[in-house]
């Protein structure tokens, strides 16, 4: 059975007919073609599918879209503004915080939620905030450093 859903994603209103049992993750990827949101387990374990719902990181594989029709949903595609990367995106790119890049969208959004709430977090607060998202490439070191860099304001490029 399909149902008409109205979803507000990245500031755009989408109307989509989707099967009622589909998760937000599936609707975002398969119906709205926003494939920047990733999946690693589809069981709420790895954190890779995190999106922001009204500013709060949520595992989109555990959310039914019908529940969030009146919410603001932010995915990685909505982070940049007029094509200009968000300071977190710039910092992640400059510090090599994205290796395979697969956990990156979830890390970015989770970090954004943290910085929106706490613009100058201690390292421990960053570690706590990101603890629910697994990364197998980086050892988290560059990811944490990138969040710190972004928190310092617009990162000035130290690189060529």
């Amino acid at each position: 059975m399909k149902q008409l859903l109205t979803l507000n994603v990245n500031g755009e209103r989408h109307e989509v007919w989707a099967a009622v049992h589909k998760t937000l993750l599936e609707v975002l990827r398969e119906d709205l073609h926003l494939t920047g949101t990733k999946h690693g387990c589809e069981l709420g374990e790895c954190g890779a599918c995190s999106v922001l719902i009204d500013g709060v990181p949520m595992l989109s594989c555990l959310v039914l879209p019908v529940e969030v029709q009146h919410s603001e949903i932010l995915t990685v595609e909505g982070l940049a503004h007029n094509g200009q990367p968000h300071p977190l995106q710039t910092a992640f790119a400059e510090l090599g915080a994205a290796q395979c890049g697969y956990c990156t969208p979830a890390m970015l959004l989770t970090a954004k939620a943290l910085l929106d709430h706490n613009p100058h977090p201690e390292r421990e607060a960053i570690r706590q905030a990101l603890a629910g998202t697994l990364c197998r490439c980086t050892g988290y070191t560059k990811i944490i450093a990138a969040v710190e860099l972004a928190a310092q304001g617009n990162p000035e490029s130290a690189h060529v």
Partner: protein, 793 residues
């Protein structure tokens, strides 16, 4: 080869060429591909660890609405596998299943749910067979053969090699130790589940996009099983969302979607579930090891006899190579004149083991470095001193005929020892705190290809557009380590342009020259050398053409900052684009190819193909722990790691590889284990398979040692795997220092430490680890004479 005096691109902490796409979520991984009319595949898998298939009928599934095709092993009868001598993988099992999760039938349907539901309507009848779950069981029941092809029960591979004369070596020893170690199996756990999309075009050409580290080997396997000429198959490695070795075999699902695409005339996609990824595995072999080492009072090793017993799981995968790797690299760090290696790999009814970061070498390195720690204590020599006194000299040969070119291990040890205060602090730490040291070494690419041939290991093609754009084509596969970026950096450096003006096209068998793949830490060295071989003639053509225009000799010119100009008068010159146009006018369309083949340097004994490499990286690690002596719970407080990188082409990316290696090493050292109960994976989920989060990761301090190796591009060595190796024994040694408990088996869990603490409290030995070996005889060893060059004493 190929060092320069000064660099514009090399050695700079540049952004990766794909960094912005990745942070914007625009990178298209295999599961992000959606094609018109695309169908979805699901695979029915065995619930039995070992059983004969007595009946299989896909008819009822095929009759379901929305089901487009259903196939069994009869549709794909040709076996395959990564190594030519062990082709025992089946796309879909035909007569028997050998593990839970073995594929038996596959369905393509209009959507994923229909495909999944259809699996319930496939009729399979099994006759269960005895399941062999351990090395001992596999050896004890030779009549229960998992593979009919094995000559000797369930023994997949047995090897015995003796280099020099170990008994003579032991006779020279003042002190001999025999120790037994066990290294638990664990898995890669890439964040991205394996995914593949196949398309069979009206022209009879098949295209497969897959999350693979080895598109070239996959290309060969598809051709074999599908019985199509390679010229009609195109394999594209999509950006890989984490590999670590787990995506370097050809997999059944990759073949199955191709067959289904051919049968249905539609694109077909499959994405494995996380549980399926755990069963696909090909991860770290569980290895039991016995090592007997003789040492003089000064700490020099007189002889080593090393035995490894590998639990291979149900299929060969890279297992022949893994078996040899458990004995190959013990010799490249400290001189061992007399060395004997015996290795055994058996089949069991569990998911197959294969290559994971470090491939077959973390297990013996754990044993070797922990045993050295025990020797240091026995002989009352500082563990750092023991190692520093006896390092392989540069430009030397090992007993097993490996060539060491440069070795920065001494400097690595000094760096981590000084930074951590290892010497000063070790004796003054309070109970429960400990510092441990260990070292390691890894190859910069396997010196021999997986299938025997005389062709290059890596090829690069370069095209220069008259607009000044440069396109580099190479079969190499970026799995996140930054291999695309390395190609761009090298070509940009040589042509004096910015890497952003270099387009990199990789991992597409239709478009790119063959590169063997992202495994064995081979890419930077091999594709790097191929890229330099390709770009240097172009560079010279541009210089020659510019020289004519500027009426100067080519030697008076250089390429830098997007220009070609006179070294003495930098203002006098041409833009890169002008120079390129002059060159195209002079020579015609600008293009070139370059390739790289490693020097043929190994020995000529059977098994000598495993271990040789153009150069070896070296790492040293000091690790600090704090352990609760009541509970065994511990934290890793800090890791110091120094790595001999040869030359850091991009120190930012090198540091990222070191950090990732330390992380993955800590994961296996502390908590990760791939374990089974009656053939069922006990913890096939990312929640239960524990891996480190941000909260477990300690601070890491990195030191890069540059030895400017003559074999690497601009002097480079590998970094993707080597830094993992010392982390595991460093933890074991630190835990011992903190607690007095020797944990000789991984993972080093609080439970094991507590067991050792309790034994010590009762006045017993605090060692926790294996105590006995399987009863198996090894054949007389193949005696290998020493290499021409003398092995250092």
């Amino acid at each position: 080869m190929y060092e320069k005096e000064s660099y514009q691109v090399i050695g700079k902490p540049l952004m990766k060429v794909d960094a912005l796409a990745k942070v914007k979520g625009e990178t298209v991984y295999a599961d992000d591909i959606f094609l018109p009319r695309m169908a979805y595949c699901k695979i029915l898998r065995s619930p039995h660890p070992h059983a004969r298939i007595t009946r299989i009928d896909v008819g009822p599934a095929l009759a379901r609405p929305g089901v487009l095709a259903a196939i069994t092993g009869r549709d794909l009868p040709v076996k395959f596998g990564i190594l030519p001598p062990s082709q025992d993988d089946e796309a879909l099992c035909q007569d028997k299943v050998r593990m839970v999760g073995d594929p038996v039938a596959a369905v393509a349907a209009l959507d994923e749910e229909t495909a999944e539901a259809a699996l319930d309507h496939i009729i399979v009848e099994y006759e269960p067979l005895p399941a062999l779950m351990t090395i001992e069981q596999a050896l004890a029941r030779p009549e229960v053969k998992i593979h009919a092809e094995t000559r000797n029960g369930n023994i997949h591979k047995q090897v015995a090699l003796e280099f020099g004369d170990v008994e003579a070596g032991f006779a020279q020893a003042d002190h001999i130790r025999e120790d037994i170690f066990y290294y638990e199996g664990n898995t890669h756990l890439p964040l991205e589940q394996h995914a593949a999309v196949a398309h069979y075009g009206p022209d009879g050409r098949l295209t497969l996009w897959s999350s693979t580290q080895t598109p070239h080997y996959l290309h060969r396997a598809l051709s074999k099983v599908l019985e199509l000429p390679p010229s009609r198959i195109r394999v594209i490695a999509a950006p890989v969302g984490g590999g670590f070795g787990g995506k370097s075999d050809p997999f059944s699902h990759e073949i199955v979607v191709c067959k289904l695409a051919m049968l249905t005339g539609r694109p077909v996609k499959i994405t494995l579930t996380r549980e399926e990824v755990f069963y696909a595995h090909r991860g770290r072999h569980p290895v039991l090891m016995w090592v007997k080492t003789g040492m003089r009072n000064d700490g020099s090793i007189t002889a080593m006899h090393f035995r490894s017993y590998l639990d291979g799981g149900a299929y060969s995968s890279y297992g022949l190579a893994t078996t040899y790797y458990t004995g190959a690299l013990q010799t490249v760090t400290y001189p061992i004149q007399h060395y004997k290696f015996e290795g055994l790999r058996v089949f069991t009814n569990k998911p197959p083991c294969g290559p994971k970061r470090g491939h077959g070498t973390p297990q013996p390195r754990f044993a070797l470095e922990v045993q050295l720690d025990k020797f240091a204590e026995d002989l009352e020599i500082d563990p750092a001193e023991l190692r520093l006194r006896h390092l392989m000299p540069p430009n030397s040969k090992t007993a097993n005929h490996l060539t060491v070119t440069t070795i920065g291990l001494g400097e690595c040890i000094e760096k981590v020892v000084q930074a951590s205060g290892f010497r000063e602090r070790r004796d003054s730490l309070p109970p429960g705190k400990g510092l441990g040291l260990a070292c390691g070494s890894y190859l910069s690419g396997a010196g021999v290809a997986i299938y025997w041939n005389d062709m290059p290991h890596s090829g690069v093609q370069i095209k220069i557009d008259r607009g000044g754009g440069v396109t580099v084509f190479c079969g190499s596969t970026d799995i996140g380590q930054g291999s695309d970026s390395v190609l761009a950096y090298l070509v940009a450096e040589e042509l004096g342009i910015h890497p952003r003006d270099v387009v990199v096209v990789t991992a597409d068998t239709d478009l790119t020259p063959v590169d063997l793949g992202s495994y064995s830490s081979r890419v930077t060295l091999m594709t790097g050398n191929a890229a330099l071989a390709a770009v240097r003639p172009l560079r010279q053509m541009i210089l020659n053409a510019a020289a004519e225009a500027l009426e100067l000799p080519p030697e008076a010119l250089t390429l830098a900052n997007g220009r070609v100009y006179n070294l003495d008068q930098p203002a006098y010159g041409l833009s890169f684009q002008e120079a390129v146009q002059r060159a195209e006018a002079k020579y015609g369309t600008l293009g070139s190819v370059g390739s790289y083949t490693p020097p043929p340097r190994g020995g000529d004994y059977k098994g000598a193909g495993v271990g040789p490499s153009p150069n070896y990286s070296y790492s040293a690690c000091v690790l600090e722990v704090t352990c609760d002596l009541e509970t065994g719970l511990y934290t890793v407080d800090k890791v110091w790691l120094a790595h001999d990188i040869g030359k850091a082409l991009n120190p930012l990316l090198v540091a990222g590889q070191v950090e990732g290696s330390v992380y993955m090493g800590l994961g296996e050292a502390m908590m990760e284990e791939q374990v089974f109960r009656r053939g069922l994976h006990k913890i096939p989920s990312m929640l239960d398979y524990k891996s480190p989060t941000t909260l477990e990761m300690p601070e890491i301090e990195i030191f890069l040692v540059e030895t400017h190796d003559p074999e690497g591009p601009y002097g480079a060595k590998e970094v993707g795997q080597g830094p993992l190796l010392p982390v595991i024994p460093a933890l074991a040694n630190a835990v011992y220092h903190a607690t007095g408990v020797r944990v000789d088996s991984t993972p080093i869990t609080p439970e094991k430490i507590l067991k050792g603490l309790q034994a010590r409290a009762r006045g017993r030995d605090g060692r926790v680890g294996p105590t006995r070996l399987p009863a198996v005889d090894f054949p007389d060893p193949v005696r290998v004479p020493p290499p021409q060059t003398e092995v250092p004493a």
